[in-house]
C-alpha cells in the first residue's frame, strides 16, 4: 500500500497537476446526483478499509452485497413487470393480455385515484378521476373482470395500493377461491407501505398509528394464509420522486423497513416467517454509478440489520429483494424520445445493481398515460439489456471497481447516519423514531429541501437537463397519446349501482359490523375484510368503517 501511496502522490504531483494547470477542467467540484463529492480517480487506497470477505464476498452469501442469489440472472432473469392499468377492468384486462403476449412475465396494477384513496367511483370526490391514471375498482365484481382469463396459479401480480391494501389482497384471494387456486399458492405483492405515504406520496386516509396497526394485521394474517405473497413493498421510489437524494431514499426506506419489523416483533410475529414476505421497491435515477452503489449498499445494510439487530436466523430472512422502477421524475416533456435513452441507462443500473424485477418507464409519460407503442419500447429496452447486452451473464460485474466499492461504502455510511438520527428521535426505537419524524415533519422537510436544491441547480444552469435547459429546440409535439374514454366514469358508476342492487345487502351489513367491532376491539381486521369483500361490499364502504373508527389524517403542510 505504501507503494501505491507513493505512486499516487507522484502521479498527482507530476502528471495531474501540470495537466490541470494547462488544460483545466469543466467544474471545480464534481458531485453525484446526491451531492456526494467524487474525486478524479479511485485506487486501492480508497477501499483499503474494506474487507473483501466481510464486506463484499460472494453472491448468495451474507452480507449479499453482490446479490441475493448465487448465480443471479444466469439462473433466471429479473421479472419484467410493467405497471399498467387504466379505464375500466375490461380495458386493463385487454392491455394485460397484450403485455403477457409480448413477453412480460409479471403483472403490475395501476389503480385510479379514487381506488388508491379508498373512495368509490360514485363519491363526489371521485368526479373526473375515475379510470384516469389506473383502473377503477369498487367491488370484487371489477376484480372478476380484471382477472378474467388470467390464471392466478401462473402469474404473479403486483398491486400498487396502500390505504386499501388489505381490501385488494382480500379481493385477490377471493378471485383465487373462484378459480380454485389454493391461496397458499398465489404469488404477488401489495405495496402496503403507509410510512412512505406520510413522507412523500401522500395517499393518506387514516392517521399513522392505525395505518401501521392494519399493516401489522396484514402481516399476521398473511404469514398464515398467503405464504408466497409479498405483504409489503417497502418503497423508496416515491421518496425519490418527491425530490429526495439517493442517500435519503436509501436511508428512509431502510428506516421504514426497520420500523415495520419492530412493529411486527411487538405483535409477536416470528421474524423468520415474516422476512421472506417483505420486499423493497427502489427508484433508478440518472446517476449510473450512484444508483448501483445504492442498491448494493441497501442489500448489505438490510442483511446486517436483520441478522445482527433483529436476530433473524434463516439466511433467507437477510435477503433484500427489490423491485425497481426507472425515475419518472427524470422524464422530460421536451424531446420525448430522449427519455428512451434515460430509461435505458437507469434500467442498466438496476440490472447491474441486482434487481429482482423492473419497470421501465415509457417515453411519453411526461405528457400522459403511456400509449401502446411507448409501452412496447419500454419493455423492449429491458429485453435488449437481457438478451443482447451480455450484462446479465456475470454476477455483479462492477464489484471490485475502486470507485463502485468506495461509493457503495459511502452511501451506506451516509445512510447509517440518518438512521442513527431517526433512532435517536425514537429514544432507541426505530418504530417510534419514524413515527416521531412523521409527526414533527422531519422526513417531509428533508425531502422538500432536497427537491428545492435540485430545482435551484436547474434554474441556475448548474445542472444540465438535456433538451430542457440546454440543447433545446423549437418543436411541435405530436406523440400519440392514450386518451381514456370519458364514458368510463359513467359506466363504472352504473356497474357499481348494479352490484349494489344485486348483492345480499344484509350480508354486507353484517360483514361491515364485524369489521367495526374488530377495529374497535383491536382485533385483526383481515378476516372481516375478507368477508366484506366476498359479499361485494365496496372499497368505500370498507374504508368508511375504518375511517369512522380510527379517524382521518390531515397532513401538516411543510413547504
Amino acid at each position: 500500500m505504501t507503494r501505491i501511496d507513493e505512486k499516487r502522490r507522484e502521479w498527482e504531483e507530476k502528471c495531474l497537476k501540470p495537466w490541470l494547470q494547462k488544460a483545466g477542467q469543466r467544474e471545480e467540484r464534481f458531485e453525484t446526483l446526491s451531492g456526494v463529492e467524487v474525486k478524479t480517480v479511485y485506487d486501492p487506497l480508497d477501499i483499503e478499509h474494506l474487507d473483501f470477505v466481510k464486506d463484499i464476498g460472494y453472491p448468495g452469501e451474507y452480507p449479499f452485497t453482490r446479490g441475493v442469489y448465487p448465480n443471479m440472472y444466469r439462473g433466471r432473469l429479473w421479472t419484467m413487470r410493467q405497471f399498467s392499468g387504466f379505464g375500466t377492468a375490461e380495458d386493463t384486462n385487454r392491455r394485460w393480455k397484450m403485455l403477457l403476449e409480448e413477453g412480460e412475465t409479471g403483472l403490475s396494477t395501476a389503480f385510479d385515484f379514487p381506488t388508491l384513496m379508498g373512495v368509490d367511483s360514485d363519491d363526489p370526490l371521485a368526479d373526473g378521476e375515475v379510470g384516469k391514471v389506473g383502473v377503477a375498482i369498487d367491488t370484487l365484481k371489477d376484480f372478476e373482470i380484471l382477472f378474467d382469463g388470467i390464471p392466478l396459479d401462473q402469474v404473479s401480480t403486483s398491486f400498487t395500493i396502500n390505504p386499501p391494501a388489505g381490501i385488494i389482497l382480500a379481493m385477490y384471494v377471493a378471485i383465487a377461491e373462484k378459480q380454485r387456486v389454493p391461496k397458499e399458492k398465489i404469488r404477488g405483492t401489495i405495496q402496503n407501505d403507509m410510512l412512505k405515504e406520510f413522507h412523500a406520496q401522500n395517499t393518506l386516509v387514516l392517521p399513522p398509528e392505525p395505518s401501521l396497526k392494519i399493516i401489522v394485521d396484514i402481516f399476521e394474517w398473511g404469514v398464515e394464509n398467503v405464504p408466497k405473497f409479498n405483504l409489503i413493498s417497502i418503497s423508496g421510489y416515491h421518496i425519490r420522486e418527491a425530490g429526495s437524494t439517493a442517500v435519503q431514499e436509501l436511508a428512509f426506506t431502510i428506516a421504514d423497513g426497520m420500523a415495520y419489523v419492530e412493529a411486527a416483533i411487538e405483535r409477536g410475529i416470528d421474524i423468520d416467517r415474516l422476512a421472506p414476505q417483505l420486499s423493497f421497491f427502489f427508484n433508478s435515477h440518472n446517476d449510473f454509478f450512484e444508483e448501483i452503489a445504492k442498491f448494493r449498499a441497501a442489500r448489505r445494510m438490510w442483511a446486517k440489520i436483520m441478522r445482527d439487530e433483529y436476530g433473524a436466523k434463516d439466511p433467507r430472512s437477510w435477503w433484500l429483494k427489490f423491485h425497481t422502477q426507472t425515475a419518472g421524475c427524470s422524464l422530460t416533456a421536451q424531446q420525448p424520445l430522449n427519455n428512451v435513452v434515460r430509461t435505458t441507462i437507469q434500467a442498466m443500473a438496476a440490472v447491474l445493481g441486482g434487481t429482482q424485477s423492473l419497470h421501465t418507464n415509457s417515453f411519453d409519460e411526461a405528457w400522459a398515460l403511456p400509449s401502446e407503442e411507448a409501452v412496447r419500447v419500454a419493455l423492449r429496452t429491458q429485453q435488449i439489456i437481457a438478451y443482447e447486452s451480455g450484462i446479465p451473464n456475470v454476477v455483479d460485474p462492477l464489484a471490485g471497481s475502486y470507485y463502485v466499492e468506495w461509493l457503495t461504502d459511502k452511501m451506506e455510511k451516509l445512510a447509517w447516519k440518518y438512521i442513527e438520527d431517526i433512532r435517536k428521535m425514537g429514544d432507541g426505537s426505530m418504530l417510534r423514531g419514524v413515527l416521531r419524524g412523521i409527526e414533527n415533519g422531519f422526513f417531509v422537510r428533508e425531502i422538500s429541501d432536497a427537491a428545492a436544491r435540485y430545482q435551484r441547480e436547474i434554474e441556475e444552469g448548474k445542472r444540465i437537463v438535456v433538451g430542457v435547459n440546454k440543447f433545446t429546440i423549437e418543436e411541435e409535439l405530436r406523440i400519440p397519446i392514450l386518451k381514456v374514454d370519458p364514458e368510463v366514469q359513467r359506466r363504472q358508476i352504473e356497474r357499481l349501482k348494479k352490484v349494489k342492487a344485486e348483492r345480499d345487502n344484509e350480508a354486507v351489513r353484517e360483514a361491515l359490523e364485524w369489521l367495526r367491532s374488530a377495529a374497535e376491539n383491536d382485533e385483526n381486521v383481515m378476516p372481516p375484510i375478507m368477508e366484506a369483500v366476498r359479499s361485494y361490499a365496496t372499497i368505500g364502504e370498507i374504508m368508511g368503517v375504518l375511517k369512522e373508527v380510527y379517524g382521518t389524517y390531515k397532513k401538516p403542510i411543510i413547504i
Binding site: F113, P114, L116, M117, V119, L125, A126, D127, G128, E129, K132, V133, E197, Q201, N202, T203, L204, E241, A242, G243, C329, L331, T332, A333, Q334, E365, A366, W367, A368, L369, S448, A451, A452, Q455, R456, I458, E459, V465, V468, N469, L477, R478, I481, K483, V484, K555, I557, I559
Partner: protein, 140 residues
C-alpha cells in the same frame, strides 16, 4: 407601497404529487410573491373560495391525476359564483397535460399551461408580464 402579487398554489383532486407545487411555492416566494398554498386534496369549491377570500392575483392549479378537464373549469366557475372575477386573475395550470388538452384548457379560460420540466423562472416571467396585460385588457 407597491402591491405584492398574491398567488394561490392549489392542489385539486385526489392526487398527492406535491413536489411540483411545493417547489413552485418556494420559488415564487423567493421571487417576491406572496404565496398561499392550499395543501393536498382540495375540491374546486375550496380552491375557488380561497382564491376569492384571499383576493389573489394568480391561481395556479397543479394536478397530475388526468382530471384537469373535469376539475379546472369547475374552479373557474366557482370563482365566479363566489363573486370573484377570473378575468382579472391569471389562471395557470401545471402538470402532466397532453397537448390537445392544453388547447382545450385555454378555451376554458386558462391563461397558460406549464408542463413538467418548465423552468420556474419562465413561470415568474409569465406572471410578471401577463398579469398587467390581462388587467389592462379587462379594464378596457
Amino acid at each position: 407601497m407597491e402591491k405584492k402579487i398574491r398567488v394561490l398554489v392549489a392542489k385539486v383532486g385526489l392526487d398527492g404529487h406535491d413536489r411540483g407545487a411545493k417547489v413552485l411555492a418556494r420559488f415564487l416566494r423567493d421571487s417576491g410573491f406572496e404565496v398561499i398554498y392550499t395543501g393536498l386534496h382540495r375540491t374546486p369549491q375550496e380552491v375557488a373560495m380561497a382564491a376569492v377570500d384571499e383576493d389573489v392575483d394568480v391561481v395556479g392549479i397543479s394536478l397530475h391525476s388526468g382530471a384537469h378537464l373535469a376539475l379546472v373549469p369547475k374552479v373557474i366557475n366557482y370563482i365566479r359564483e363566489y363573486g370573484g372575477n377570473p378575468d382579472e386573475m391569471l389562471i395557470l395550470v401545471g402538470g402532466v397535460i397532453p397537448t390537445d388538452d392544453i388547447v382545450e384548457l385555454k378555451k376554458m379560460g386558462v391563461d397558460e399551461v406549464f408542463i413538467p420540466g418548465t423552468p420556474i423562472s419562465e413561470i415568474v416571467e409569465f406572471i410578471k408580464t401577463k398579469l398587467p396585460e390581462k388587467r389592462k385588457k379587462n379594464e378596457s
